[in-house]
């Protein structure tokens, strides 16, 4: 009986012109977005790898330069793009692609794609994720708004129920039918995506394929929520028109209004300081210490006395090493906790905003729970960028220390004309980035998985309750 209901639903939909058009258009958009997304990933991956190689070459061939000048000339590291960015580009357009590593300071990443993009970029990109998050639910509405309401209006629902099929079986059949129909979108994406990742991507690493599988599972859960809501509203609506209007309103709330309101409310409740204020506070604390009572000149004098005592000499000129190199490294050691404090505070504010947005998801927008999962699995969220930034900063500290100590050990105090050569630059270790483990990423998304699961349970419980009441009233 279930199979009969399922086959009948699929046949009815395949005969409806508007359904065929909707499927055709959305499937085409999904295919185009996926193909272009894949091309963009490959192109960006090649560009950034090339930029990293070129940066290394520039560093290695900078010629005879004082190590501290080289520390200010610095290095650039370019964040690699992740394979699954072809599905969901996340917030990549608003994240810098390069991070400058230089002495004395940690700088946020720069050269965001949005800085160079025209104003229309703010309307959103057409990615596979955007199609599945925004357009596929509309297709679900189209398939499902009249599922029960239209049959009730035409009087055929009573006839179907009189054949002995239970409301639950009927609902399951219709729901499964919609799910099977949606495989038109999901199956090609899953198959082609897996093939592309395995053959043309990063060698088909298990982590990437697992991320892809979890990503698709999240979207299937989201579709199940949409199908449940659709069936429940159709069951409870007196007419198909009412069901359609209510479902379109739900779609608008989920896809348009609540996500915007959520990011707005989060920004209002947990505002981040402007760049000017942030860097002003950072500079103040660098000068005067975190507690405001540790000024740089006092600190420098204390350090000098400490080193003189350690080497048992009276003057810095008598030290067997270059005191300038040690002093530079000491200023780095002082600056690092200040940087950790301020950047840590900023990143905690970002987390607060993310948590606030998450708490709005149960209030009418499962999309607010799906989006972070999708971006996290694709490696295109803020957390993935933060992991890169943290590793780049760790490398910066080691890199600058290497330069400072080389200067301290190989030159004399006051000799700022002393230079290191290309052989030394080539000996500096290269930065190697390790993306977060998929397990850690999934653990961080547990609250969002829970919200999606809660929504699925609520939606289908609502379906069961609605059918029960309607069947009785029928």
């Amino acid at each position: 009986m279930l199979k009969t209901v399922l086959v009948r639903e699929l046949r009815d939909w395949s005969r409806e012109g508007r359904v065929r058009w909707a499927f055709g258009i959305v499937a085409t958009l999904l295919a185009v977005a996926t193909v272009i997304g894949w091309q963009a990933y490959r192109q960006m991956a090649a560009e950034r790898a090339s930029a990293q190689t070129e940066d290394r070459r520039v560093w290695d061939t900078q010629g005879a330069v004082n190590p501290h000048s080289a520390a200010h000339f610095g290095r650039y590291v370019f964040k690699p793009t992740t394979p699954l960015s072809f599905v969901d580009r996340g917030v990549n357009s608003y994240l810098g692609v390069s991070t400058r590593l230089e002495a004395h300071t940690q700088t946020p990443s720069r050269h965001r794609p949005v800085d160079d993009a025209p104003a229309i970029a703010r309307f959103g990109e057409l990615t596979a994720a955007a199609v599945m998050q925004v357009l596929v639910p509309l297709v679900i509405v189209l398939l499902g708004f009249g599922t029960f309401a239209e049959e009730r209006e035409h009087g055929t629902l009573r006839q179907v129920l009189s054949t002995g099929v239970s409301p639950r079986l009927l609902t399951l059949g219709k729901g499964l039918g919609m799910g099977v129909a949606l495989l038109v979108f999901v199956a090609p994406l899953a198959l082609l995506g897996s093939l592309a990742l395995t053959w043309f991507g990063p060698g088909g690493e298990a982590g990437v394929l697992l991320r892809f599988a979890v990503l698709l599972l999240a979207y299937l859960t989201y579709f199940a929520i949409c199908i449940g809501v659709c069936l429940a509203v159709s069951a409870r609506s007196a007419t198909a028109r009412t069901a359609l209007v209510v479902l379109l309103a739900c779609w608008m709330v989920n896809s348009l209004l609540v996500p915007r309101l959520a990011s707005d409310v989060a920004a209002r409740v947990a505002p981040v300081p402007s760049s000017d204020v942030f860097f002003e506070r950072l500079r103040d604390d660098m000068r005067n210490g975190l507690d405001g009572h540790d000024p740089g000149d006092v600190r420098a004098e204390a350090f000098k006395q400490q080193v003189l005592a350690e080497y048992k000499v009276a003057r810095v000129e008598d030290l067997p090493i270059n005191f300038d190199g040690l002093a530079l490294q000491e200023s780095e050691a002082h600056a690092n906790p200040v940087l950790d404090h301020h950047y840590g505070q900023l990143w905690r504010q970002y987390e607060q905003q993310a948590v606030l947005q998450r708490w709005l998801a149960p209030l009418g927008a499962p999309l607010l729970a799906l989006r972070p999962v999708s971006m996290a699995m694709a490696g295109t969220d803020w957390e993935a960028h933060r992991a890169f930034t943290a590793q780049a900063e760790s490398y910066r500290r080691v890199f600058v220390e290497h330069l400072n100590l080389h200067m301290a050990r190989n030159s004399r105090y006051g000799d700022w004309d002393w230079k290191a050569d290309d052989a030394f630059w080539r000996s500096v270790d290269e930065f190697r980035y390790s993306p977060p483990e998929v397990g850690a990423t999934m653990m961080a998304q547990i609250p969002n998985f829970a919200i999606l699961g809660g929504w699925a349970l609520a939606a289908w419980t609502f379906v069961g309750w609605s059918l029960h009441r309607r069947a009785l009233e029928n």
């Binding site: 010629g63 608003y94 990011s263 905003q353």
Partner: protein
């Protein structure tokens, strides 16, 4: 007959609880959106004031240092690289209307002797990228995305409700044609929506203004009203066109929803996709590497670059001071000429990059007319002063200010002369020049046409459809 129809429709609409609720919800959303825009505009104003105040304090300190130097060494403020200026873009009085590009584009610039146009603009932002990606709930968003839904919600079943209730034949049995009936319904709905949306928007913009209105802002408000009415006309036309022949409200809802989705959501996203394929953004990482390689090369030629500079500008050779000492280290001069030389050598690459971005901008300006929502948002951003044009003006003026500054201060560096207090006071300071009314008109005219022309086309098509229909 038109007046009778209109009066009747007016009473029906006001008695319709759903219509009142929808309008009420829109008013509440408008209030929130205006609050968001006003907050953002005031935050920008505060940031500008803080920067200007800090700069004023710094200048005052430098002046005191120059007027009453301590000790025998020249004060730090006297050296040519010490004086500096900050260029700021003040928010416009109508800034509460649209956040636009103000949250991603830079409105400050550092002007100093060692700055170049490549590094004078701050490169960092602390704004949460997730908030930027999610977008803000401002009046521009509400008008572009939600206003059409409001209009379609009130008018999707203008005629089909009567057809479905079988009252249409009864109405048309009176001496009133479909055209008059439709006109009455459309005009009443248009007036009702306009009567709510226009005052609420104007009130939100005026109450939330970060700075007092200027002499030229009145006609911008007039332009704002025009854009809203033009956009309203487009969507009312679409609703009327669909209603004329349709027999089902559900079909109307689907059709109108599809049109909204296609023009407001899908078309801009497709344009972005086309842009990424045909006019991809030039590579910033490669430009960065090019700049660095050029700087390294220029540094290697350090003193040679300085020597060449003096050869080309012999009038800037160091002047012997009274005691014969040169207060400025030659390596500092060499570094300055290296920086200038490296920038000059990178300029072709920077121009190529800018030209590629300009191609992108022209492409989007040409094809934005496919989506009235994009046209409206562009127009609202221009009026709010948060559009790319005003930021482009600011960048241009800031670069000009830097050029003037370097021209005023570099001779001191190269000749080995220190600044006096009066010389520092006489240095140029930046003041942003707003675009003239003629420039604003030239920017807003294509936008206005981008709404008027589709509205006219849709209404002509609707009238043609009405003439061909038998009505019932």
């Amino acid at each position: 007959m038109f007046r009778i129809v209109a009066r009747h429709e007016w009473r029906l609409l006001l008695a319709d609880r759903a219509a009142v609720v929808i309008l009420g919800v829109f008013v509440v959303f408008s209030g929130y959106a205006a609050w968001t825009g006003a907050d953002a505009a005031r935050a920008r104003q505060t940031a500008v004031q803080q920067v200007v105040a800090a700069e004023a304090v710094r200048r005052a300190e430098q002046r005191r240092e120059l007027e009453a130097p301590k000790g025998t060494e020249p004060p730090a403020a006297a050296f040519p690289w010490s004086p500096r200026d900050v260029a700021t873009l003040p928010p416009s009085a109508l800034g509460a209307l649209a956040i636009g590009q103000s949250d991603v584009l830079v409105g400050t610039a550092n002007v100093g002797l060692f700055r170049t146009p490549a590094d004078m603009f701050p490169a960092y932002s602390t704004e949460n990228p997730a908030t930027l990606a999610g977008g803000r709930f401002d009046l521009a968003f509400l008008l572009a995305y939600v206003l059409p839904l409001l209009v379609l919600g009130l008018s999707f079943n203008m005629l089909t409700a009567e057809r479905e209730a079988s009252t249409l034949p009864l109405v048309l049995s009176h001496p009133v044609g479909v055209g008059t009936l439709l006109a009455g319904k459309v005009v009443v709905r248009g007036l009702l929506v306009a009567a709510v949306v226009v005052p609420v928007t104007l009130l939100g913009v005026l109450l939330g203004r970060p700075v007092p209105l200027g002499a030229g802002d009145g006609w911008l408000l007039f332009g704002l009203v025009g854009l809203i009415l033009g956009y309203l006309a487009v969507w009312l036309g679409v609703a009327a066109f669909v209603n004329v022949r349709s027999r089902s409200s559900a079909v109307n809802a689907l059709a109108l929803g599809s049109v909204w989705l296609a023009t407001v959501v899908v078309a801009p996203a497709l344009l972005n996709l086309a842009l990424s394929v045909w006019y991809p953004a030039p590579s910033r990482p490669m430009l960065v590497n090019q700049e660095r390689a050029t700087l390294v090369d220029a540094q290697r030629r350090g003193t040679e670059v300085l020597g060449n500079y003096y050869q080309q500008h012999p009038e800037l050779l160091p002047v012997a001071s009274r005691d014969g000492a040169d207060p400025i280290d030659n390596s500092t001069r060499a570094y300055w000429t290296v920086v200038q030389q490296a920038f000059a050598e990178t300029t072709p690459a920077l121009h190529a990059h800018a030209a590629a971005l300009e191609e992108q901008r022209r492409f989007t300006e040409r094809f934005r007319y496919l989506s009235p929502a994009v046209v409206l948002v562009d127009g609202l951003s221009e009026i709010a002063g948060t559009g790319p044009s005003r930021y482009a003006d600011f960048r241009h003026q800031a670069v000009e200010a830097l050029s003037n500054w370097v021209a005023a201060t570099s001779p001191h560096l190269l000749r080995g002369q220190l600044f006096t207090a009066s010389e520092v006071v006489a240095l140029p300071t930046f003041a942003f020049r707003e675009a003239s009314r003629a420039e604003y008109v030239s920017r807003l005219s294509p936008i206005a046409a981008g709404l008027v022309v589709p509205a006219v086309v849709i209404w002509v098509a609707t009238l043609w459809r009405v003439r061909r229909t038998r009505g019932v």
